[in-house]
Each structure stands twice: as structure tokens, then as C-alpha cells.
Symmetry: C2
Subunit: 214 residues, 2 copies
Amino acid sequence: MSDKNLPNQVSANTLRRLPYYLSYLKTLKNTDVSYISAPVIASELDLNEVQVRKDLAAISSVAGKPKKGFEIDVLINDIQAYIGCDVNNCGILVGAGHLGRALLAYSGFEAYGLNIIAAFDSNPAAVGKDIAGKSVYHTDALLDFCKKTPVTIGIITVPAEDAQEICDLLIKANVKAIWNFAPVKLCTPDGVIIQNENIAASLTIINKKLAEQF
Amino acid sequence: MSDKNLPNQVSANTLRRLPYYLSYLKTLKNTDVSYISAPVIASELDLNEVQVRKDLAAISSVAGKPKKGFEIDVLINDIQAYIGCDVNNCGILVGAGHLGRALLAYSGFEAYGLNIIAAFDSNPAAVGKDIAGKSVYHTDALLDFCKKTPVTIGIITVPAEDAQEICDLLIKANVKAIWNFAPVKLCTPDGVIIQNENIAASLTIINKKLAEQF
DNA sequence: TAGATTGTTAATCGATTAACAATC
DNA sequence: TAGATTGTTAATCGATTAACAATC
């Protein structure tokens, strides 16, 4: 049904705003309003109204109605569909340290189409454990595991110095995308999707703003 | 010693690159090279060399030497100082769910100057527990706690629908910055620093790229 | 109709990249 | 010196914002 023949270039910034639209729209679900306008969303979320209109135009299945705006229920569905809530990607996580265990236990990813089915670690102390119902296997077993159960997304939560090695392993295991939590530039062949997550960077930004204030 | 009299506007994008520079430079620590040039860093991290030079110029305490580049040890120290590794901010976390517990247990924040000293939750089942050596108190005790122990950074890991309420509470408790993991626009008075973290957004980007590939 | 809202075309802004003179 | 690298000034690029005609 998706007749998007051209990639429909939506910027990463727009994608980042979508979860905020979604969560705001959901707060309206149980109210009596059924339509919402771009200017209202913009003022609620402190955004420019043209920006909101462009964002919505990019992901909405129907045009907004002059004087009314967008039907809330339709918009919620459209955003969820666009975000990929209805896909179901299998993921595995490598590195069952603190952060890794945290992500394993975090249930919020399923709402975004990611199902983490197993974890791997090279530390014997971690291997064999069960975290949030997911087994931790030895890293040596990763390739075999992925042969039996194709995995789309590999999540790297190992220390920086091990990240490249794990990355190579995941590529050998044929994952299509890598979600990298180590602050390291990974070398990968073309075609493999890399998404770097950098929690520390946000902290850096906070520190900087705090320092500026005084 | 820091004679930065003007704010020295460094963009958030630059700040986001600093952890990658740092981690790369650290890999050179135990080698025999003592100087590194912007072009080399750029090619290693797949960045533009002018961009690297500008980034380094913004944070370095000394100018680079033509033909040699930057002294690695000095650069490491400068980045760490700039990032705020040497500050020590007290933080508390509200919402000891999966994500909250993960962040509590994650030890990596101390390297960025953040020391999470306690957690709060309104769920009786969570209250009284000990996570990674940190106590979980009832949210009702938050204000009193912050009166005794001034807290700089409040971390919000409660569900989206409770985030604003907790935000208000943290502001009453006089925190200077809020690190918000809920995908919600928070309303705050001027002067309070807000940093939104949006883990789901990265997942959205991965989903989109995966979808484009086929 | 009048006015709010839409989608779009043009202007602005900021970040990235290219070009270049200065330095060791 | 010649050449690699520096820092800086100018050009490019993309995202945000402003202006405006079209619609109900």
C-alpha cells in the first residue's frame, strides 16, 4: 500500500520530532477534540508552525483540512506507521554490562518495532544468566545463533576498545543495521546501516550549559 | 585559569563529536606517536578535516603546530576538561523503572562529571530498594532530600504522562538542569536547562533506513 | 463572506566544506 | 627550501523561518 516510490527525504531532525508529536497527540485521545491544527501543536511543543506543517505533510496519509487541521486518530496512526511501530525487527545485544542489561530490560523498544531476542557477552560471569526473560550467551555462539535465527539489528554495548571487533562479528553474522552505544567510529562495509548513540554527549551539553550560567 | 570571557559558542554538533575524538585519542596513548594532526583524525573518523580543525581550535588550550599538529596528551586533557570530566555534579533520578534502573547502574556517567546519588519512585514496590548501591526513596521525600543535599541535575525516567509533574517537582527542589528521557516537551521557567534524550528516535531512524533499503 | 488554516515558494540562518595565505 | 599542516576567510549546502496565495 505504501506508494512511496521516491525516498521522500525526511530529515533526521524531522524523525526526531515525530515521537514528540506522537506523545502529545496521545494526550488528546481521550478528550472531545478530534481535529488538531499545526499552529496548536507548534505552540504546545515550542516549535515553528511551518516546521510542524512540513513535518506532518511528510508523514500524513491525508492532506490537512483548511480551517480544521488534521484528524487526530489518523495522524496518530500515520506517525506510528511511519516510525515503524508495526514492523518487527529481531535484534541481539552484545555486551551485557550495566548499559546492556538496562537496554535488555527496557520494554519500550517494542513500541518501535524492535524485539531484542538474546544477548551475548564474553564474560563467563554474565553468560548463562537471564535478564528480563532474555538469555545471555557466550559471544562465541553468536554466529551460529544468527545462522539459525536471522537477526536484523545488532546492538553494541561493549566497552569502546572492543566495539570494532564486535562490529566485525555482527557483520559476519549478516545483521542489516548496527546500533552502536560505544563512542567509537566503526568501520563497516557499504550497505550496513550504522546508528551511533551517544548518551554521554547529552551530558556534555548539560555540563557546558551549566558552566556558561555562572 | 579558564579565561573564556565570551561564551565561545561551540555548537551542540561539535560537543557531540568530542567524545569520539577523545576515545580515538585514547587509543593512541600507548603508542609511540605523541602528536596527531587534524587530517589524520578526520580520515580516521570520517570527518571533514576543516571541521576537525575548527573543533579542536575551539577546545584546545594551545594552538596546533604547523607540520606536527597537536600534542596528544594535551589534547586529551583539554577535551576532558572541556567536556566537564573534572566537575562533579550531583544528580538524582526519578522513575526507577527499567530505564531508570539501567541508568542508575551505569557507571559511565562519572567520567562525565555526573554522580547520581539517589533515586525516587512513587511505586511502593520500588521504594526502599538498593540499585547499584543507590537507595530508592519515595517521591514524596524528594523535596526534603534536596533541601539537605542540594542537587544540580534531575533525571526524569518516568512514563510520558507523569513527566511534567515530576519536572515541576524537580524545579521546586531547585535543580539547575533536567535530563529528560520522556518523549515529552516539558514546560519550565526560564533559566532551567532542559536536555531531552530520545532513544526511540534513533530507532526510528534505523527503521526508516532499513525500510528504504528494500 | 471573513478568517483560520492549509501547502508552497522565497528568504534567512547556521553549519559544513572549499580555498588560501601563514608557519615551521 | 619544499611541503605538510595550521588558522581563517569565502562559498556551499541544508534546515528553519517568513511571506503568500489557495481553500473551506
